[in-house]
Amino acid sequence: MTHPRADALPATSADWTLPSRSRVGVICLICTEAALFTIFAVAYLFYLGKSVSGPQPRQILEIPVWSTVCLLSSSATIMKAERVLRRGFVSRFNLWWLLTLLLGAEFLRATASEWHRLIFTNNLTIGTSLFGTTFYSLVGFHATHVTVGVILLALVFVLSVRGYVTQGHTERVETLAWYWHFVDAVWIVVFTVVYVVGR
């Protein structure tokens, strides 16, 4: 077979750039997780007011203002961390990253104390009623995601303190930040469904 001469062929586009793998990958993950949360949120809304026994949401749920503030502001701090890393300030990155980590951990602590109160004072467990079932599964599923996020944040923090994170890792840090933003966005939905609509 004769090879066509190279100069006879039209050039393929000179700057052939495709999206970055980690960004597309994390967007796919976010889409599929969003679908997962949708099902749990739908279950919550579907069973609203259908509990045949046990306490009702209005009687025992308090709006978690403090933990919401913590989680939402952690989105801002992680963005700040990402920006300073992009400019190469690793020690300032560490500071903002640690702050994000602490805010995430505080959210988990606040959730834990809310659950402690609900379980031991208000006698609401997952088996009490449909409210308990859907509440603990939806909020717990979100809290699981926050926990995973906090573990990953801590991992990056340890690596960074030991000097392994540099300006070159901005894109990887960004991938984790997108996941964290997603977890925050889900909280807005969970908050609306459980504490605004459901109360």
């Binding site: 190279a6 793998r21 599929t32 069973y47 026994s53 009623s129 599964s137």
Partner: protein, 559 residues
């Protein structure tokens, strides 16, 4: 620089025989998309044999009225395991295997975007299969003798509740699907990322082979639909182990909600299984008609709209539940709407064949039969979309016939077409045409003999999943014919296995491009080297190999 580097040696270097343990270890630790693809397909075929045996036992039981070849309990386990296996352990791995093997080769890449995630996905699938079948040993706990799950492949609540499904057999079912589902999601993330980020130079979205387009849509559908199953399985586990009440009707829970969640996954799943079949047909029919695919943009558009509409048709599985008139109308209308893009596809395949110089090699034979049989499946599908018709025939053998025409007449035939078509690429050997023809004609005969009569027994009122039936209802002949068909299908599969074994040992050497095809996988050696391409190719049209073989009239002048 051309697409193909023909200076590459055609023969693989003489292999050094490694000890068996080392070879096995290689397979276990591999992250190569081709090895994983073959492992997916091979384990899928093993499970296919297992689920086929389960089906054969059911047909044996149903061959005659008042038969008691197996006990009713065993029969329930058989249809549950048959359905679950065929969908999750046969259909899914084989399509993911084809995707794994072919996507990087077709888009001119060296591997999937995340090779280790790919291996992770495979092993999750593999162990989900082992978990499901372990239920035969551990279903009732290790002390008693085990049982497999017997709740049907869609496991309607409240039958799956603790009160009605004792022991742990249902938990094996739940956990198996949960684990396997996570594996499928991981692989879908990988497929989407690979297709979007790793295409070779010049391969714009509009120049991707249709196979790639269809699998991209499949992966997106899996990302959106699979979580519904995962969530439902988590809820079921919470119900069974922590005393939650999601599907516990006594505490106000809803059994219908399970049906919604299951079918929000379950119906897109049908298209997830079927679109890869379309994908294979869209590659094979043009090559054996010696014409480019007719209406490429329409095919892409139809695929995307099938994917889109398929997400909104799930409740047509639930017409008999008693939804509102509005619900019935919506889901009947959306279901009928799917027939439009599907029809476009069938016409485009026919348009590709029309006026072509058709070569009826075995892959093309399977594709041609697929066109006829899938048309029957589509027609009965539109019939079942009419809600009042469905009220009459839902849960009858008519439905069984319908979806077996989809999944065997449609999917299995295109999978065999794909295996005959790409086997030379993966192994370097051709499958025998003579044995292939035996395989094909016996399967056409056996398949139609088994499932054609089920349309009639269904219309005559035979419900699906019944253990046995009385004589004198007019069902005897049709059931006997169905069961006789199994013999032919089994013979066909025997010829297939024999063909594979024989051809692996002494099949004709395939060369790089045995079918004179046009997509990039045929530009590398058979089997491809671990790195796929020595230099990454560049493409200028949808048929890069045509351009190379016909420098006097390349496609890029016309596109």
């Amino acid at each position: 620089m051309g697409v193909v580097d023909h200076s590459m040696p055609q023969s693989t270097p003489t292999e050094i025989r490694l000890p068996l343990l080392t070879q096995l270890h290689e397979w276990v630790v591999t992250v190569d998309h081709k090895c994983l693809g073959l492992m997916y397909i091979c384990s899928g075929l093993v499970f296919f044999a297992v689920a086929g045996i389960e089906a054969s036992i059911m047909r044996w039981q149903l061959a005659f009225p008042n038969n008691d070849a197996v006990s009713p309990e065993v029969f329930n386990r058989l249809f549950t395991m048959h359905g679950t296996t065929m969908v999750f352990l046969v259909g899914m791995p084989i399509i993911l295997g084809l995707a794994n093997y072919l996507i990087p080769l077709m888009i001119g890449a060296r591997d999937l975007a995340f090779p280790r995630l790919n291996a992770f996905g495979f092993w999750l699938f593999f162990f989900s299969g082992l978990l499901l079948y372990f239920s035969y040993l551990g279903g009732e706990g290790l002390a008693g003798h085990g049982t497999a799950p017997d709740v049907g492949w869609f496991a309607y609540a409240p039958l799956t509740g603790r009160a009605f499904s004792r022991g742990s057999s249902t938990d094996y079912w739940t956990l198996s699907l949960l684990v396997g589902g996570i594996g499928s999601i991981a692989t879908s993330v990988n497929i989407v990322t690979t297709v979007l980020c790793l295409r070779c130079k010049g391969m714009t979205l509009g120049r991707m082979p249709l196979f790639i387009w269809l699998l991209l849509v499949v992966a997106v559908m899996l990302l959106l639909a699979m979580p519904a199953l995962t969530a439902a399985q988590i809820m079921l586990l919470l119900d069974r182990y922590l005393g939650a009440h999601f599907f516990d009707t006594q505490a106000g829970g809803s059994a219908v909600l399970w049906q919604h969640f299951f079918w929000i996954f379950g119906h897109p799943e049908v298209y997830v299984l079927m679109l890869p079949g379309f994908a294979a047909a869209s590659e094979i029919i043009p090559v054996f008609s010696r014409k480019p695919i007719f209406g490429y943009p329409a095919m892409v558009g139809a695929t995307v709209s099938i994917g889109f509409i398929a997400m909104g048709v799930w409740a047509h599985h639930m017409f008999t539940v008693g939804m509102t008139a509005m619900g019935n109308t919506f889901f009947a209308a959306s279901t009928m709407l799917v027939a439009v893009p599907t029809g476009i596809k069938i016409f485009n395949w026919l348009g590709t064949m029309y006026g072509g110089k058709i070569r009826f090699a075995t892959p093309m034979l399977f594709c041609t039969a697929f066109l006829f049989q899938f048309l029957v499946a589509g027609l009965t599908g539109v019939m079942l979309a009419v809600a009042p018709f469905d009220w009459q025939l839902s849960d009858s053998y008519f439905v069984v016939a319908h979806f077996h025409y989809v999944l065997i007449g449609g999917l299995l035939f295109t999978i065999f077409a794909a295996i005959y078509y790409w086997f030379p690429k993966a192994t370097g050997r051709m499958l025998s045409e003579t044995l292939g023809r035996w395989h094909f004609w016996l399967l056409v005969l056996g398949f139609n003999l088994t499932f054609g009569p089920q349309h009639i027994s269904g219309i005559l009122g035979m419900p699906r999943r019944i253990y046995t039936y009385d004589a004198g209802r007019g069902w005897e002949l049709w059931n006997l014919l169905s069961s006789i068909g199994v013999v032919f299908q089994a013979a066909a599969i025997f010829f297939f296995v024999w063909n594979v074994v024989q051809s692996l040992r002494r099949g004709d050497s395939a060369g790089d491009d045995p079918w004179d095809a046009w997509t990039l996988e045929w530009s590398t050696t058979s089997p491809p080297p671990p790195y796929n391409f020595e230099t990454l190719p560049e493409v200028r049209s949808r048929r890069p190999l045509w351009d190379l073989k016909h420098p006097e009239d390349p496609d890029w002048r016309h596109e």
